[in-house]
């Protein structure tokens, strides 16, 4: 596909008119109108379940609308399949990490996947030729991932970057990004914004779906807010983000960032003494006290997940001393960690925590009970009543919207799924709760509920949260640590009560990170 940018300034790059879509009894889109001009970045905001993803799927030919017309550059088109959408010049970067590429193929093959699938790269493919083309694709967004690596071994953020590179290389006239920064740290996100800037200059119409207000205000020309499948607000710059959020969730967003007063320190729960995560990284100290919430933030690959994994027994510290409640802590695996009172909710809930539907025990009760069954079952027999009672309590405490404790997780919205994951680990007391990216892909309202639940649950335990979003870190934590190159770069003498100095410190750390060539670690 060569540059398809039609320069009819009068007709928008993409126009959706009167979109209707129903799933069963649930109306997802109700007469929704949207247009994206050439060289315009339109941010689409909406809470979970508002219909954003359905709209993105319609624009990319994955889902067919019940009613409505689609125009590309003023010409009416019918998008019967993803291929038809591509041929019309619309390319999408999906949100779900499963749809981003093909595990089992190399990064290079994934980068040129469109050429391989639709032709255009020739019948006989040579590894060298693929690498050449892939390199060109990667260079366009300055992507730095080893081309030989298996796509399946990449972490979510790198998968996202590969998919973005692929989409940009398609030379589309309309690009749809569905939550592109959900898994990206600040430095990667900044790189994406540069790419979007260049695309805009070339006249590409961009539909940018996101929860993140900071990203939206940075990148968008116009904001469209949807709620219950309808357009409820349409703003041009300068934006009134508060009004947009209000339109999105239907009421005022009260102050999420009400930080707790900095209370005197409790008993230390976890103490790290000159530990090292890799042989190449510098040793660091860290300690967390009872009732405290610490957030570690930092760029992708800075070692946040590895730190949590080492504490949970998934990997090992190379060096140094770890104490839990004053006793040496060296779990040989998750089972030992759980038995010792260290719990972890992993990153990417569908990969790390949830079972696919139709698996026995994939309902809310089973999901909550899975790690606790050793203690909850008598002589191995499942205590159904106990599991459902525990699930009921999780549902009530966290305000999970669902039909009941027997609902499977795929029937819940993203925010509610994440609440189940958190509730599972709050169902029994622990010493240390590790949460890896607990706010991934959920809306502002659900995030506020989760933060409240994390704080309420953190009475006696210590909580350690890994998040690549500095704003999230500031909102949820008492203290913030920044990681870089597998070591804690700036230390929590800084409390979140003083956000400006913290932001400055983090900014300095991340700026030097962006300047360096980021090393590659999953």
């Amino acid at each position: 596909m060569k540059l398809l940018v039609p320069r009819f300034e009068s007709s928008p790059a993409l126009r959706l008119a009167g979109m209707d879509k129903t799933y069963g009894p649930m109306q997802v889109l109700a007469g929704f109108d949207l247009s994206v001009g050439c060289g315009e970045v339109v941010a689409l905001m909406g809470a979970n379940g508002a219909g954003k993803s359905t709209l993105a799927k319609i624009a990319s030919g994955v889902v067919q609308p019940d009613k409505g017309r689609i125009f590309v550059a003023g010409r009416e088109v019918s998008l019967a399949s993803p291929r038809a959408a591509r041929e019309a010049g619309i390319v999408i970067v999906h949100q779900s990490t499963d749809h981003l590429g093909v595990p089992g193929l190399s990064v290079a093959e994934n980068l040129v996947l469109d050429g391989l699938c639709a032709g255009g790269i020739g019948v006989f493919v040579h590894k060298r030729k693929i690498h050449q083309k892939a390199q060109a694709v990667a260079a366009r967004i300055g992507l730095d991932v080893p081309l030989n690596r298996d796509f399946g071994e990449l972490g979510p953020a790198h998968r996202q970057l590969v998919a973005i590179a692929r989409a940009v290389a398609a030379d589309a006239s309309v690009l749809v990004f569905d939550e592109p920064t959900a898994t990206l740290a600040a430095a990667e996100a900044a790189r994406l914004f540069d790419v979007i800037e260049r695309l805009r200059a070339r006249g590409v119409g961009i539909l940018y779906i996101s929860h993140r207000l900071a990203d939206i205000s940075r990148v968008a020309d116009r904001i469209v807010v949807m709620r219950n499948g309808r357009r409820v607000a349409d703003q041009v710059q300068p934006f009134d983000l508060a009004a947009a959020v209000k339109a999105m969730i239907g009421r005022d967003l009260d102050q999420i960032g009400t930080r707790r007063a900095f209370a005197p320190t409790g008993r230390p729960i976890l103490n790290l003494d000159r530990v090292r995560l890799t042989h190449a990284s510098k040793p660091f100290d860290l300690s967390i006290h009872a009732g405290k919430i610490m957030a570690v933030t930092g760029a992708l690959g800075s070692g946040k997940s590895r730190l949590l994994g080492a504490l949970f027994g998934v990997s090992r510290f190379v060096d140094g001393r770890v104490d839990l409640n004053g006793m040496p802590w060296r779990p040989r695996g998750p089972a030992e960690a759980i038995a010792g009172g260290v719990f972890m909710a992993g990153e990417d809930r569908w990969r790390s925590s949830l079972l696919p539907p139709f698996t026995p025990g994939a309902d809310i009760a089973g999901t909550v009970a899975l790690p606790h069954r050793r203690r909850w079952s008598g002589f191995g027999f499942i205590q159904g009543r106990r599991e459902h009672a525990a699930a009921r309590q999780v549902i009530d405490t966290l305000g999970i919207r669902c039909g009941g404790t027997s609902d499977t997780l795929d029937r819940l919205s993203g925010g509610n799924q994440q609440k189940v994951v958190l509730g599972r680990w709050q169902a029994t007391p622990c010493w240390l709760l590790l949460l890896d990216e607990p706010f991934q892909g959920i809306d502002v309202g659900a995030r506020r509920d989760l933060i409240a639940a994390i704080r309420a649950g953190a009475r006696d335990a210590a909580t350690l949260i890994a998040t690549s979003d500095v704003e999230e870190a500031l909102q949820v934590a008492d203290t913030v640590a920044v990681m870089r190159n597998h070591t804690v770069a700036c230390l929590p003498g800084l409390h979140t009560a003083d956000p400006s100095s913290l932001l400055a410190a983090i900014g300095a750390a991340e700026a030097s990170e962006a300047g360096e060539k980021g090393e590659f670690v999953t």
């Binding site: 039909g403 509610n416 309202g445």
Partner: protein
């Protein structure tokens, strides 16, 4: 709590439509309806079909298939697949015959030897899959060929009977222990074959294990999402190996039943067991609309296959068309499971 976050895509409402409820019941009970229809048909054409003796002879042949089907089900639960069950059954059939006829062991030693052999083969399967990371289909396919060849070597490719001429020229001096033959031939109250009783008890035990205990849930959890199970504290590898040990042991018990029923080491007696038991386990997906491997389903599937075959035999359908019919039945049942079920999401 958040206003929008709670709205789940199309859910409970669907069940209130009367049409949807009927379709749902149809899906749940489809296999049973087809089974009932077949029984009525077979009985109309051949009234001997529903006689007690015939039904128990069907169940006797079903017992072995059901046993292997349960084993396959456990491996399917951990997202694996044991293709070697048929060969394990034939191998232990030959092994137990050899143990009595050539080694002159008694019934108890022979059964113990057979079960230990089955468990060991399962362990080897598991270690190939976990340790060497050979994909399960390939590992068990390899094991299938190894065993199919190995079982022929001691007897020089011949069936094992009393007075067998061994490859070294001597004549085997042992015979089948009557106690061993009773395992396959004894009938309670002159009607109910012992294997049917044993398999029924095992089926109930495995149903309890898979549906009612935490270990069963871990088997399924490992198959559904291995990473999530590991992070929830499950010893994932141990469960996967255990699944193959269970399936190997059950298959070897099936081999013992066959040997005891036939009363000689017939080199090709177990040739249709693999297809039949895999069909049983896969048909089981459709039973009660479970959409995952399950014990009740596998047993129902085995009965289903058994009744199809017995009915066709009684209707004088030539034996050489039976595999064809079995294939059609399997494909039909799978279409039912995976095709019709698609509408749900």
């Amino acid at each position: 709590m958040s206003v929008e976050a709670g709205i789940a895509p199309a859910r409970t409402g669907g069940l209130r439509h009367p049409g949807e409820r009927i379709r749902r019941s149809l899906r749940r009970y489809a296999i049973f309806l087809i089974l009932a229809a077949m029984i009525v048909l077979f009985n109309a054409v051949e009234p001997a079909f529903l006689r007690v003796n015939n039904l128990f002879s069907v169940l006797q042949s079903v017992a072995v298939v059901a046993l292997l089907g349960i084993g396959v089900t456990v491996t399917l639960a951990v997202d694996g697949f044991d293709l070697s069950v048929g060969s394990i059954a034939s191998f232990t059939l030959m092994l137990s015959s050899y143990s009595m006829v050539v080694l002159q062991f008694g019934a108890a030693e022979t059964v113990a030897l057979a079960l230990v052999a089955g468990a060991s083969i399962g362990l080897i399967n598991g270690l190939m899959i976990i340790g060497l990371r050979i994909p399960d289909l390939l590992a068990t396919l390899g094991m299938m060929f190894v065993l199919a060849g190995l079982q022929l070597i001691p007897s020089g490719g011949r069936s094992i009977t009393i007075g067998l001429n061994l490859p070294d020229g001597s004549v085997a001096g042992g015979s089948f222990d009557p106690a061993f033959l009773a395992i396959g031939r004894y009938k309670l109250w002159e009607v109910v074959p012992l294997p049917v009783i044993i398999v029924s008890v095992l089926a109930i035990a495995f149903w309890i294990l898979m549906e009612r205990t935490r270990w069963g849930r871990v088997f399924y959890a490992v198959g559904g999402n291995e990473t999530a199970s590991h992070l929830a504290g499950a010893p994932v590898k141990a469960y996967r190996v255990a699944a193959y040990i269970i399936s190997g042991t059950l298959a070897s018990l099936g081999g013992v039943f066959e040997a005891a029923r036939v009363g000689r080491g017939d080199a090709f007696a177990g040739s249709s067991l693999l297809l039949d038991s895999v069909a049983a386990a896969l048909i089981g997906f459709a039973v009660l609309d479970q959409r995952h491997a399950n014990v009740i389903g596998a047993v129902t599937g085995a009965i289903f296959v058994g009744i199809v075959l017995n009915g066709l035999t009684m209707l004088n359908v030539p034996y050489y068309t039976q595999d064809f019919v079995k294939g059609i039945v399997l494909v039909g049942a799978l279409a039912l499971t995976f095709g019709i079920g698609r509408g749900r999401r």
